[in-house]
């Protein structure tokens, strides 16, 4: 009788600047399945990891904002292609984290389709939300949307894959870069998704993914002075108030998405608009 083949367990690292380092703190937290078996030792991300991720996001920002809308759409589409190619892997991973087979399939399919949805918006939201303004003086006046910059995202805890993608895709479709804190209770999909990003021509630093404890990192995500906007998806009123208060120090744009059903009707271009600024230009009309 042939002996059983020993599986090679995956090491779940974090994703910063297009690379997969371990947390600089060296700390971990064990992720267990329903039966209590340790499935993975997740990186317990530190504020230094977050600091490094923000540096990477900031460095990547100018290039990503200047990439053509067409290119951003192509890259988002490619992420969808890569995720579709790994459909079985992601379903299995969701089941491992407690989902039923049916629910896992639905979540993965919706995730892929959501990426395609936002790929299609990349070169259109500008047309829908811009304006040429009929000012009363002899000036050509136009308002365009521009990405706000670096966005920190506290991804929803109850939706490990779809909730993360539902926040990341509109942010990067709009030309921003981001640092994401994965769900604490369902962290595996976020790390695997980083691998998908890595295979999709996404420039390093455009999306950075950390795992770790909400209790330790929320404050960092909300207070960093070089972050332009913060998105939060969970938490008590107290947490919300704390995030809003900390964000005020550099007038961070605060986006609350704590009542969103990510598997329901949670895709629309206003999620892109949330992380855009409006720039208006005037120029005389005359010979």
């Amino acid at each position: 009788m042939a002996s059983k083949r020993i599986a090679v367990a995956k090491t779940y690292k974090i994703y910063i600047g297009g690379k997969f380092p371990r947390t600089e703190s060296g700390r971990y937290f064990a992720h267990k399945d329903k039966k209590g078996n340790v499935v993975a030792n997740m990186c317990r991300g530190s504020r230094k990891d977050f600091r490094n991720a923000v540096v990477a996001a900031r460095n990547a920002e100018a290039g990503w904002a200047r990439a053509s809308a067409y290119l951003r759409g192509q890259i988002l589409y490619r992420i969808a292609e890569m995720l579709e190619g790994r459909r079985e892997q992601f379903i299995a991973e969701l089941v491992l984290q407690g989902a039923t087979q049916k629910a896992a399939e639905k979540e993965v399919d919706q995730s892929i389709d959501r990426l395609i949805y936002y790929a299609g918006w990349a070169d259109k939201y500008q047309q829908v939300f811009s304006a040429v303004n009929p000012v009363s003086s002899s000036h050509f006046n136009f308002s365009v949307l521009e990405p706000t910059g670096v966005v920190s995202i506290l991804a929803p805890d109850n939706s490990g894959l779809l909730g993360l993608i539902g926040n990341v895709a509109p942010v990067i479709a709009g030309g921003n870069t981001c640092v994401v804190l994965a769900s604490e209770s369902k962290p595996l999909s976020a790390v695997s998704f980083a691998e998908v990003l890595h295979a999709s021509d996404v420039p390093g630093g455009v999306v950075n993914i950390l795992t770790g404890f909400r209790s330790e990192l929320t404050e960092q995500f909300a207070s960093h002075m070089d972050v332009n906007a913060v998105i939060y998806c969970d938490g008590s009123k107290a947490v919300a108030k704390s995030v809003q208060t900390l964000a005020a120090d550099n007038i961070k744009r605060v986006i609350a998405r704590d009542r969103v059903d990510w598997s329901g009707d949670a895709e629309n271009p206003y999620l892109i608009r949330d992380t855009q600024e409006v720039k208006t230009t005037w120029h005389p009309i005359g010979s």
Binding site: Q74, Y77, I116, G120, K124, V128, P269, I285
Partner: protein
């Protein structure tokens, strides 16, 4: 050493060796049927006609000549698909099919480019770098609109029209097919499309790609043929929407034919665009823009900058530089990667251009052509400019559709503007100046659907294109390009 007139010498010296694009990886069938209901089928009449390579007059393939019965079949297939799978499909899923077409075009890009150049005569550099990428991008752009129409029309609900009958020209065969099919499908319509009789092949290759993409049968039908086939499509009672790109004369006939019917139509017709160069322009880039505007694609461009207006104080300089630049344009084998100007699309078109060259000279204009050699077989026209013309000259008024530029001077802004607008056409216009306010004033004053400032012949799937006045009605591309393929009702 300096010659007396300080002229530059481009003749003789270093010559580029032939750099032919390879054709051994492409597939052209010896005969094509009509693509109806997801398959290639024989034409009811059993008749076929040749399609040739205008660079050497050799036959490339034979394509079917669709008659009334074939058109009936195609429309019926489109109707069934509209009532059936396509009409019932979730918009996001429709979008995914259109994305597939875009991806396959990207994967087969080189084959599409080579066949486009063989069939129509345009240089491989143009089909490779412009036509095919833009065509794929057009499908990609409109794929994304399929499930987003609620955001495109504030306060209104957009619904498809039904079956679209589409007739396209020979100057950008694959690109025009993309401009027609992509938005139609995105909005939920089905399509019967007829490519031009001299350039059917890339549309047929597109049909293969559409079949490979798995689109339900009947969603897109490609029927080849000539004028009679086109008329049958336009006049078919079960076609809800007609889209035509071609000459103003035919557009006029179509509009008359559709009078009294309920059919919606969009027309993209001819042009005689003014390209206006002010003395404060970035002169060298303006010269390049003039060349780009009239000589590339052999001047077979509806929005070509075929009337140059150059401010008098820089006229001599601009014309001298233009002549120098013309000397470096290579006219020749479309499949040579160094060719700038390919073959004229057909002997008929060449005759038409040549007759205008005669007309221009008989009107007293001075004609100047570059001195390059042209191959012996095939249809060729050297880049040509006419000076000593005025608004009343026929070569200034009428669309030639070849590499022929009519040059006038002007002194003041108002003069240039009045002359630029003094035409029944209104497709495009160009303005070259370093002064921003003048650009915005020109774009306000020019009666044209597309204004190019300090650039020319720029196209993008997100940018609406179409004419004022007799250059047509309706827009293709961008958000505004959706209008043509929807009916708007209350929410």
């Amino acid at each position: 050493m300096a010659t007396p007139e300080n002229k530059l010498a481009f003749d003789g010296g270093w010559a580029y060796d032939p750099a032919p694009e390879s054709t051994d990886h492409i597939r052209i069938e010896s005969r094509y049927g009509l693509f109806i209901n997801g398959d290639f089928v024989k034409p009811e009449s059993g008749k076929y006609f040749d399609t040739i390579n205008p660079a050497n007059e050799e036959k490339l393939s034979r394509v079917a000549d669709a008659n009334q019965a074939d058109v009936d079949k195609a429309v019926a297939a489109a109707r069934a698909a509209y009532r059936g799978p396509w009409g019932r499909m979730k918009p996001a899923e429709r979008g995914k099919y259109i994305y597939r077409i875009a991806r396959i075009m990207q994967e087969r890009a080189r084959e599409f480019s080579v066949i486009e150049s063989l069939d129509g005569g345009k240089p491989i550099r143009e089909s490779r770098d412009v036509d095919v990428p833009l065509a794929a991008a057009h499908f990609f752009y409109y794929a994304g609109w399929a499930d987003k129409l609620d955001y495109a029309f504030p306060g209104r609900k957009a619904k498809p029209l039904g079956v679209a009958g589409q007739i396209i020209p020979w100057n950008f065969p694959l690109l025009m097919a993309a401009w027609k099919i992509a938005p139609a499908l995105a909005c939920g319509n089905t399509v019967v499309l007829k490519p031009a009789e001299t350039t059917p092949l890339t549309a047929l290759k597109l049909a293969e790609a559409i079949a490979d993409a798995g689109l339900p049968p009947g969603v897109v039908n490609i029927v080849t043929g000539a004028g009679a086939t086109g008329a049958a499509i336009v006049e078919h009672p079960d076609v809800d929407k007609v889209a035509f790109t071609g000459s103003t004369n035919v557009g006029r006939m179509i509009q008359k034919k559709l009078a009294g019917t309920n059919k919606k139509y969009t027309l993209e017709l001819g042009g005689k665009a003014a390209n206006i160069v002010f003395a404060d322009a970035a002169i060298d880039q303006a010269v390049e823009g003039i060349v780009n505007g009239i000589f590339f694609n052999q001047g077979h461009v509806c929005c070509a900058g075929s009337r140059l207006f150059v401010q008098e104080s820089v006229a001599d300089e601009v014309i001298a530089k233009l002549k120098d630049r013309m000397e470096t344009l290579i006219v020749g084998d479309p499949l040579d990667k160094n060719t700038d100007i390919g073959a004229i699309n057909s002997s008929m078109q060449l005759k038409k251009i040549q007759s205008y060259l005669k007309i221009g000279q008989s009107e007293g204009a001075t004609m100047h052509q570059s001195s390059c050699s042209v191959p012996k077989k095939g249809y060729w026209c050297r880049p040509t400019i006419f000076t000593g013309v005025s608004q009343s000259s026929r070569v200034v008024q009428e669309e030639i559709f070849g590499p022929v530029l009519a040059i006038q001077t002007f002194r003041r802004y108002d003069e240039a503007l009045v002359k630029a607008n003094n035409t029944p056409y209104g497709l495009s216009g160009g303005v070259w100046t370093d002064k921003g306010s003048k650009i915005f004033k020109m774009t306000q004053d020019l009666r044209a659907g597309v204004v190019w400032a300090n650039t020319f012949n720029k196209f993008d799937p997100t940018s609406p294109f179409g004419g004022y006045k007799e250059s047509g009605v309706g827009r293709e591309g961008g958000l505004h390009g959706l209008d043509a393929y929807v009916k708007l009702g209350a929410r």
